[in-house]
Amino acid sequence: MMRTGELLRHLAAHRNSTDRLMARARTLSPEEVEASTDPEVLRIRRMVLAVRGEVCRMRGFIRLRPLGERVLWGRISPHHDVGFEISDFFARRFPGKLIVLGDGRRSWTSLYSEGALHRQIGDGLSSTLADISRIMDLLAEGSEEKGDGVTGADEKAEKGRDGGEEKEREKGQPSEAREGGGMERSDLWSVYYRSQDEPRKAGGRRYSGRISRRAERSASLEAERGSATAKLEDLRRR
């Protein structure tokens, strides 16, 4: 049964939520929400389930990529206002990492550090990542001046690796060509996914019935779709 606090939180996050529905929801007991056949209560229940469903799908289908040592970013474009629910989830999973999620217009940044959760909302994924890169560079320069250049050096080395990967991917070289020198993470996933894949069966609930086109695009499921999609550069161009 849905707890009242959770119900209100998810109803407030729904894109079509209204003050009237919120006021009605506040009067409902968990039993009424669960078992009422009243059309408005049914509507509230469906709206809450839609938000919960989106949270669950986003948690599963988002793909995170590193930007330096301390940032993991991913593209999401949720229908409902669930950005922080997702970014907080990953911040708790990866303590000490800045989790930056978003699309061309919005971004949600969360950090879990020493028992506290910090949050920031931004105007877009690319601008937030650019801001963070700039701040990280300044911090690295500051620590170098103090004689402690380890973090900055690591940061730049990692950025160099990422940049190199992007360039190689753009050249469209086959994965085998890079196998000896350095593996791309997407190659590892593609190879593993292919080892588990089974042909689409007649009848049964197939791949396309399990995941929407929108979620596919949002998660950039290259291996599953058989084609490469979004890169950080694409996001910057949008």
């Binding site: 995170l64 301390r70 800045l98 959760l117 080892s195």
Partner: protein
């Protein structure tokens, strides 16, 4: 940078959330955009953090041929959930109470774990298994613990997976291989603070000490039964001793779980249709597994003949047989129907026909349609199209008034088309049982 600590399940300190919307449940829609901590401060905190929760970046090259071969070796191993109920980890546990699917295969099967063999070397001669010692053209691959950890962390950090499912061939010796598998999971848990889900296979013949160590680290452990009896096992795999290699290890797990918490419990898996076993034989084994050994789940895998194996010329088991067995499993485990009632679903030769077993059981047990306003919970859940959750909703709804329309039942979650013939709503039945073709 990794910090070495011993892996222990322990509650983490309560989280302080530095934003107005999260400290209270929102009471208005405008209360959803906190903007409290500056990016500068967050970046500084992240830079100062000495805690690396995702381990090292990929270093030396990973052998992708190995990833492919050892991944393919577990293609028919089943792990449909990554949910774990860990004590004291309500706030920060990375394994959720409900599992997450991260992707799906073409056939629709959920991919949520990095499912792999540790090694595909195996002295056993299981007729269905591509890793059997006699399999034609088999190239041997093995991971080392550090390599396996690196791959798992790389996939976990990208959110491709929810955790690790680690199975294996026996290798040179079951205890030696088991030790290396445990070492890999220990590295994940202790050196890299990995809080994701881990399902660890117990190899047939492993020592009790290794079983205990595995249980201390994993969320779920399992020993594959493969066959419903020792006679069927002799046909599937003559080199395995059913009682000693399999059942004794399941009892070890049951014994140890009295003092070592296993968050997602013990499971097992059976191959269906490879050794001529009937569905009734499988069901009888399932009863023992649940009632005597307290297993959490029994999984079924319809036999598929693979090229190069001893059984490559045998007939493929139909996928629907696996599906019907899962329905029977569900009726026993979730609906709590008793063995005698479920027996009505089997035909005279002990097989399940290709039809919904719940309909067969309902036809055998209902003499006439029931009124949802007066039916008990036990009666309601026996109606096809009504599950335990919907039955509970009907009982709650009845407290406020009578249910007089089929569409009210549909609003509560009843599958009206399937349930209609078994229900009398507003004084009349939607259709007779005889008219409902089965």
């Amino acid at each position: 940078m990794a910090i070495s600590v011993m892996w222990v399940w322990r509650p983490l300190p309560p989280t302080r959330i530095l934003s107005p919307s999260a400290t209270h449940d929102p009471i208005s829609r405008e209360d959803h955009h906190p903007n409290v901590t500056s990016l500068e401060k967050m970046a500084r905190l992240a830079t100062e953090s000495c805690f690396d929760s995702v381990g090292p970046a990929p270093g030396r090259a990973i052998d992708l041929a190995k990833v492919e071969a050892l991944g393919r070796g577990t293609k028919y191993d089943l792990c449909t959930s990554s949910a774990a109920k860990r004590q004291g980890e309500d706030a920060l546990g990375s394994a959720l109470r409900g599992g997450l699917c991260h992707s799906f295969t073409g056939s629709g099967r959920c991919v949520s774990l990095f499912k792999t063999l540790y090694t595909n070397a195996c002295p056993h001669d299981c007729g269905y298994c591509p890793n059997a010692s006699i399999s034609a053209g088999k190239k041997i691959f093995s991971y080392d613990p550090e390599e396996l950890v690196r791959i798992t962390l790389a996939l976990y950090r990208e959110n491709r997976i929810e955790g690790l499912f680690l199975s294996s061939g026996i290798g040179r010796d079951e205890n030696e291989t088991m030790e290396e598998m445990i070492e890999a999971v220990r590295l994940l848990r202790s050196a890299h603070h990995f809080r994701g889900y881990v399902h660890l296979k117990i190899l047939p013949g492993s020592s009790k000490e290794h079983v205990r160590e595995a249980m201390e680290l994993a969320d779920r452990v399992s020993v594959n039964l493969e066959a419903p009896s020792s006679a069927r096992m002799a046909e599937l795999c003559p080199s395995k001793e059913y009682e000693r290699d399999i059942l004794a290890r399941q009892r070890y797990i049951q014994d140890i779980s009295r003092y070592v918490a296993l968050p997602a419990g013990q499971t097992t898996q059976m191959v269906v249709g490879a050794a001529g076993e009937t569905d009734r034989e499988i069901f009888d084994r399932l009863l023992l597994e649940y009632d005597v050994l307290n297993l959490k789940r029994v999984y079924f895998s319809a036999f598929t003949p693979l090229a190069g194996t001893a059984f490559e010329d045998r007939e493929k088991a139909p996928a629907w047989r696996e599906h019907r067995l899962y329905q029977i499993d569900w009726l026993y485990r979730i609906y709590k129907l008793d063995e005698g009632e479920i027996a009505a679903a089997f035909d005279d030769s002990g097989y399940l026909p290709d039809g919904d077993p719940k309909v067969a059981i309902a036809r055998a047990s209902f003499e006439e349609p029931i009124d949802p306003n007066g039916a008990s919970f036990a009666e309601l859940i026996r109606v096809p199209g009504i599950g335990p959750k919907t039955a509970r909703r009907i009982l709650l709804c009845r407290k406020n008034g009578r249910i007089e329309r089929m569409r009210d039942l549909a609003a509560l979650g009843v599958a009206a088309r399937r349930a209609g013939p078994f229900l009398k709503v507003g004084g009349k039945a939607a259709a007779t049982l005889d008219r409902w073709g089965v």
